[in-house]
C-alpha cells in the first residue's frame, strides 16, 4: 500500500525528471541556435555597439532638405543613438578634403556626391574601399540590384564609388504653349531652325544632367560630336549653370525648349499648373542613359568614426535605406526590391528602370573620361 510519503517522493521524482528534461531541451536549443547563428551577427553586434559608443557619423553630401530627410532623419529613426553630422556642398568639397587629409586631419566618414568628386579624391588617395565595410547580408546581396550586381563609378577597381541612383537622363523639356512634347522623336529635331534662339540649356560644364547627357550624346553612334557642335553653335542656345533658373525660364515662356532639364523641378512646376512637360526618354529613337547624379557612395579614408561609418553604409545599401532614397529624396534606386507603392508615389512609369534592357550607366568612369572632350567643345563654341 502506497503511503502519502511514498506518493510525495514519486511526484518529486517526476518533477525533477521534468525539470532536467526542460534544462536539457533548453541547452540543446541554445547549442542549436549558436551553431545556426550567422557568422556576420557577432561582427555586426560588435560594430553596432562600437557605433553607439562613437555616437556620431559625419556625412558629406550635396545638400538640400530632401537629402537631409533621407540621409539624416531616416537613418536616425533606425539608429537613434547615432547622430548624423551633415556637411553640405560636397560638390565643392574636394579641395577642402584633400587639404585636410594632407595635414593629417580626417574629419568626415562618408561622402555622397557625384563622379567629379571621386575623380578628384581617388587619385589623391582620399578614399577607402567599400566592400570590406559591408556586413549585413541585405546590404551585401548584389542580386537585389540591377543586372544582379553593384555598380561602381570606378568600374575597373569596383571599390570606391558605389552608384545608388538610376535616373534616366532627360534630354528635353518643353513649354507646351510653344511645342508639342509628343512630336519629338529624335535629338536631331532640336536642331531645327525654327527653334533657333528659343532654347535654354543647362551648362554642360557645370555639375548636373548636362555633363552626363552631353557625354552620352557624344558617344552615341547615332548622334556624335557633330551634333554637339551644331547644338552649341547653330541654335543660339542660352546656357545657365542654375537648373532651377532654366526651369523657371521655360515655365514662364522665355524659352520654348529646355535641354538637359532638371526633371524634378519641371515635374513640380507642371503639377502646379505651369505649361511645362518633360519629353520621356523612350520617345527618342537614339535611346538614353542612366545617371546616378550626386547619389554615389564613398568611404573617406581613415574615417574618424569607423564603426558608425560601417553601420551607416550598411543601412544605406539595405532595402530600408534604398526605400528611403526613393521616398524622401524622390530618386529612383538601382535596387530592384523597393515596394511598388513607394515607387508609384514618386516615379512616372517611364522613369522606372527597365532592367531587361542594356542601359548605359553614364556615371561610370569609362564614359566620364569623355567629359573633358565635351567641356573643351563647350569652351570652344559656347559663349
Amino acid at each position: 500500500m502506497r503511503t502519502t510519503k511514498m506518493k510525495g517522493a514519486a511526484s518529486r521524482k517526476r518533477l525533477l525528471i521534468l525539470f532536467l528534461l526542460i534544462v536539457l531541451l533548453g541547452s540543446f536549443r541554445t547549442l542549436e541556435a549558436q551553431q545556426t547563428r550567422s557568422p556576420w551577427q557577432p561582427e555586426w553586434e560588435k560594430v553596432a555597439k562600437g557605433a553607439e559608443k562613437e555616437g556620431k557619423v559625419v556625412v558629406w553630401a550635396v545638400g538640400g532638405r530632401l537629402q537631409r530627410d533621407w540621409l539624416v532623419e531616416s537613418f536616425q529613426k533606425s539608429f537613434p543613438k547615432i547622430t548624423v553630422e551633415f556637411l553640405t556642398r560636397a560638390d565643392r568639397a574636394a579641395p577642402r578634403i584633400i587639404a585636410e587629409q594632407k595635414q593629417g586631419l580626417y574629419l568626415a566618414d562618408i561622402l555622397i556626391g557625384g563622379t567629379n568628386l571621386v575623380e578628384a579624391l581617388l587619385p589623391a588617395e582620399a578614399l577607402d574601399p567599400i566592400p570590406p565595410a559591408l556586413i549585413l547580408p541585405d546590404a551585401k546581396d548584389e542580386s537585389k540590384w540591377v543586372y544582379g550586381k553593384f555598380h561602381y563609378a570606378d568600374d575597373e577597381q569596383r571599390q570606391y564609388s558605389l552608384l545608388m541612383r538610376g535616373e534616366y537622363l532627360s534630354f528635353l523639356a518643353v513649354n507646351t504653349k510653344f511645342a508639342d512634347p509628343s512630336a519629338f522623336r529624335s535629338y536631331w529635331e532640336v536642331l531645327d531652325p525654327k527653334w533657333k534662339g528659343k532654347i535654354a540649356m543647362q551648362d554642360v560644364r557645370a555639375p548636373g544632367p548636362g555633363g552626363g547627357g552631353a557625354v552620352f550624346l557624344l558617344l552615341n553612334p547615332q548622334v556624335g560630336e557633330s551634333y554637339l557642335r551644331r547644338l552649341f553653335t547653330e541654335t543660339g542656345v542660352v546656357t545657365t549653370t542654375d537648373r532651377k533658373q532654366a526651369a523657371e525660364w521655360l515655365a514662364r515662356g522665355r524659352f520654348a525648349l529646355g535641354v538637359f532639364p532638371d526633371t524634378e523641378e519641371i515635374k513640380r512646376l507642371g503639377k502646379d499648373g505651369f505649361p511645362v512637360k518633360v519629353v520621356p526618354w523612350h520617345q527618342f529613337k537614339e535611346g538614353a542613359a542612366l545617371s546616378s547624379g550626386t547619389h554615389q557612395l564613398s568611404l573617406l579614408k581613415r574615417a574618424p568614426h569607423p564603426n558608425a561609418a560601417k553601420v551607416y553604409v550598411n543601412w544605406l545599401l539595405s532595402r530600408e535605406g534604398q526605400i528611403s532614397q526613393v521616398k524622401y529624396a524622390l530618386s529612383p534606386s538601382l535596387r530592384l526590391d523597393v515596394p511598388e507603392e513607394v515607387m508609384k508615389e514618386v516615379l512616372e512609369p517611364w522613369e522606372r528602370i527597365q532592367s531587361d534592357k542594356q542601359l548605359v550607366m553614364i556615371s561610370q568612369w569609362k564614359y566620364r573620361k569623355y567629359s573633358s572632350q565635351v567641356r573643351n567643345l563647350a569652351r570652344e563654341h559656347l559663349k
Partner: protein, 576 residues
C-alpha cells in the same frame, strides 16, 4: 623767474622703436598674414598646372585658358559700360540725397535715412525678382497695366535689357549703400564753412558746389571707388537679368567658371588678378589726390548746423521719400508675400498662397542652431570689425609709419577676390599655418574671414571720417598729457562713432547674409542661416529660402535700429 629744465632722457636711439611704430608693425604683420597671404596662395595656385594630388608643376596654361576664353573681351566692354553708367547715376543721386538728409532741415529725415538702411538689408536676389515681377516684358504687372490702356499695345518696360540691369542696380543696393556711407560723413561738416559762403552772397546750390562738394571729395571718391570695384565682382543681377539676352559681364564670367565641373579656381583667380591690377592704380590716384590737401571739417570750434530750404524742403522731402519708398516698398512687399506663396511672384495660379514655407523652415531641426550661429557670427564680425578696422584706418591716416601705403593697399585687396575664392584661400591659410589650425572648423574662422571681406568698405568709411577731423583736437589731447590710446579712445572714437556704427552694421549684415565667403569653411556645428538657405534653394524651394532671407533681414534691421539710436546718443548730435 622760473628755471625750466629740459629733460634729455628721450635722446635718439637707433634701436628704439616708437610705440606707434611697434603697433603699426604688428598691424602690418597681421594684415599680411590674414589678407595678403591667402590671396598670394590663390594666385600661386593659379599657376599650378598639375592636379591637386600630383607634385606641383607651374606654368601659364591656366592663365592662357582664362584669358583666351571666348567672349571675355566683350564681357569686359559690357562691364565698363554698365558699371560706369549706374555708378555715376547712383553717385549723383546719393550725394543729393545724403546732402538733403545730413545738411538740411528736411522733415522726418532720420526716418528717411532709415529707409535706405532697410533697402540695404534686403537681399539682392529678392529685390531683383520683385522688379522682374513688375517689369518683365511679357508678364510684368506694370507692363500689363499699361498695355490695358486703350492707346497702348504693349508695356514699354523690359527689365531684360542693358537699362533694365542699370535700373535693377539703382533700385537695389547701389544708391542705398552710398547714402549710408555718405550721410554720417556729410553730417560732420562744420556749418560755419557754409555760413561764410552764404554771408558772402553765395546761393545754396553754389555753396554746395564750391564748398561742400570739394570738402567731401575724398569721401565721394572713396565711395565711387568702392562701388566700382565691388561692381567688378558682383554678379547676381547680371546673372538673372543678363544671361537671358546673352549679356555677359566680367563677374558672370568668373562666377560661371567657379560653377563648372571641376571648378576652375585657378582660372577664376587669374581673372581676379586683373581686378587687383585695376585697383592699385585707382588707389594710387585716390591717395595722390587726397595727400597734401586738407579736408578738415571737424575742429575744436566745430559747430553743426542745418541749411534752411524754405518751401523747397517739401520738394526735397518728396524726392527723397519717393526714392526711399521705391527702394523699399516694392521689394519688401514681394519679400513678405513671397514667403507665403507657392511660387514666388506668381499670383494668378490656383492655390497661390500657403503657410507651408514657414512651417518647413520653423520645424527644420537645424533652424534654431543655425539662427544662433548666425547671430554669433554676425555679432562677432561686427564687433571684430568695429575694433580692428578703425585702428587700421587710424594707422593709415594719422600715423607716420613708413609702411602705411602698404597697409592701405592691402586693406583693399579682399574686394578684388570673389568670396568663394577667399574662402578657399582661408582653408589653406588655416590648415598650413601653425597655430591658426586651432581656428579651423570654428566660428572664429568664419568671423575672421567675414571681417577681412568687410575690410575695404570699413576702412574707407573710417578713413573718410578721420580725414574730416582736425588734427588740433588730438594735439590738444596729447599736450594735456593724454597717451595715444587715451586720445584715440576719448577724442577720435566719439567723433567717429556714427561712422563706426555704419561699419559695424555693414559687417553685421555681411556676416548674417554672406554665403560664398564662408560656405567652404562651414561645418555642421557652425552652419548659419545663410548656408541653411542654400539647402532650400538646392531643393528648388526658393520660397522657403525667402523665409530665411526675411528673418535675416528682420534680425539685421532690429540690430541696426538699436545700434543707430545708441550711436546717435554717443556721437555728435544735431543742434536743433
Amino acid at each position: 623767474m622760473v628755471k625750466v629744465e629740459i629733460s634729455h632722457t628721450y635722446a635718439f636711439h637707433p634701436l628704439r622703436v616708437s610705440r606707434q611704430g611697434f603697433f603699426c608693425s604688428l598691424l602690418m604683420g597681421f594684415l599680411l598674414l590674414v589678407v595678403a597671404y591667402p590671396i598670394f596662395l590663390l594666385l600661386l595656385n593659379s599657376f599650378q598646372t598639375a592636379q591637386p594630388w600630383q607634385s606641383p608643376r607651374y606654368g601659364f596654361e591656366v592663365w592662357q585658358r582664362a584669358y583666351s576664353a571666348p567672349g571675355l573681351l566683350l564681357s569686359v566692354y559690357n562691364t565698363v559700360r554698365l558699371v560706369f553708367t549706374y555708378q555715376i547715376i547712383s553717385l549723383i543721386l546719393s550725394i543729393l540725397i545724403a546732402w538733403l538728409i545730413a545738411r538740411t532741415d528736411l522733415p522726418l529725415k532720420n526716418h528717411l535715412e532709415t529707409l535706405f538702411w532697410i533697402s540695404f538689408f534686403l537681399p539682392t536676389l529678392s529685390t531683383t525678382l520683385s522688379w522682374i515681377l513688375l517689369l518683365d516684358p511679357e508678364y510684368g504687372l506694370l507692363n500689363k497695366w499699361i498695355a490695358a490702356l486703350a492707346f497702348m499695345e504693349k508695356g514699354p518696360f523690359n527689365i531684360y535689357s542693358f537699362w533694365g540691369i542699370v535700373a535693377a542696380h539703382l533700385l537695389g543696393h547701389s544708391i542705398a549703400i552710398k547714402v549710408m556711407f555718405l550721410t554720417p560723413i556729410f553730417r560732420n561738416m562744420d556749418a560755419s564753412l557754409e555760413e561764410v559762403a552764404q554771408v558772402a552772397g553765395s546761393s545754396t546750390f553754389s555753396t554746395m558746389r564750391r564748398i561742400f562738394i570739394p570738402l567731401m571729395l575724398p569721401a565721394v571718391l572713396a565711395v565711387f571707388l568702392l562701388g566700382t570695384i565691388h561692381s567688378l565682382e558682383a554678379f547676381e543681377i547680371e546673372l538673372v537679368l543678363g544671361v537671358p539676352f546673352r549679356f555677359y559681364v566680367y563677374s558672370t564670367h568668373i562666377y560661371t567658371m567657379l560653377q563648372w565641373e571641376p571648378a576652375e579656381y585657378g582660372a577664376a583667380a587669374a581673372l581676379s588678378a586683373l581686378v587687383l591690377l585695376i585697383i592699385f592704380p585707382l588707389i594710387f590716384l585716390q591717395r595722390r589726390y587726397t595727400e597734401g590737401r586738407y579736408f578738415t571739417t571737424i575742429t575744436g570750434r566745430y559747430r553743426q548746423g542745418l541749411i534752411r530750404l524754405g518751401s523747397w524742403r517739401y520738394v526735397g522731402f518728396a524726392f527723397v521719400a519717393s526714392v526711399g519708398c521705391l527702394l523699399t516698398i516694392v521689394p519688401i512687399f514681394l519679400l513678405v508675400t513671397g514667403t507665403i506663396m507657392r511660387h514666388f511672384g506668381i499670383f494668378e495660379m490656383a492655390d497661390a498662397w500657403t503657410l507651408e514655407n514657414w512651417r518647413r523652415v520653423l520645424t527644420d531641426p537645424l533652424f534654431v542652431r543655425s539662427a544662433s550661429n548666425t547671430f554669433t557670427l554676425a555679432l562677432g564680425s561686427a564687433l571684430g570689425a568695429a575694433f580692428l578696422l578703425p585702428l587700421l584706418a587710424y594707422a593709415i591716416v594719422r600715423s607716420n609709419f613708413m609702411g602705411k601705403e602698404v597697409l592701405d593697399l592691402v586693406s583693399w585687396m579682399p574686394y578684388a577676390i570673389p568670396g568663394i575664392l577667399l574662402g578657399l584661400g582661408y582653408i589653406w591659410l588655416l590648415l598650413w599655418t601653425p597655430g591658426l589650425r586651432l581656428l579651423y572648423g570654428t566660428v572664429f574662422a568664419l568671423i575672421l574671414v567675414t571681417v577681412v571681406k568687410s575690410m575695404p568698405v570699413g576702412v574707407q568709411i573710417l578713413k573718410s571720417n578721420l580725414i574730416q577731423l582736425g588734427e588740433e583736437l588730438e594735439e590738444a589731447s596729447r599736450a594735456a598729457g593724454g597717451s595715444w590710446w587715451t586720445t584715440y579712445r576719448r577724442i577720435v572714437v566719439p567723433l567717429s562713432v556714427q561712422a563706426m556704427i555704419v561699419l559695424a552694421m555693414l559687417t553685421f549684415i555681411s556676416g548674417a547674409r554672406d554665403i560664398s565667403t564662408i560656405v567652404l569653411l562651414v561645418t555642421s556645428q557652425t552652419r548659419p542661416l545663410s548656408v541653411l538657405m542654400l539647402d532650400y534653394i538646392m531643393d528648388g524651394s526658393f520660397e522657403s529660402a525667402t523665409v530665411i532671407a526675411l528673418l535675416v533681414a528682420l534680425l539685421s534691421t532690429g540690430v541696426a535700429f538699436a545700434a543707430r539710436s545708441f550711436g546717435f546718443r554717443l556721437g555728435i548730435t544735431e543742434r536743433k
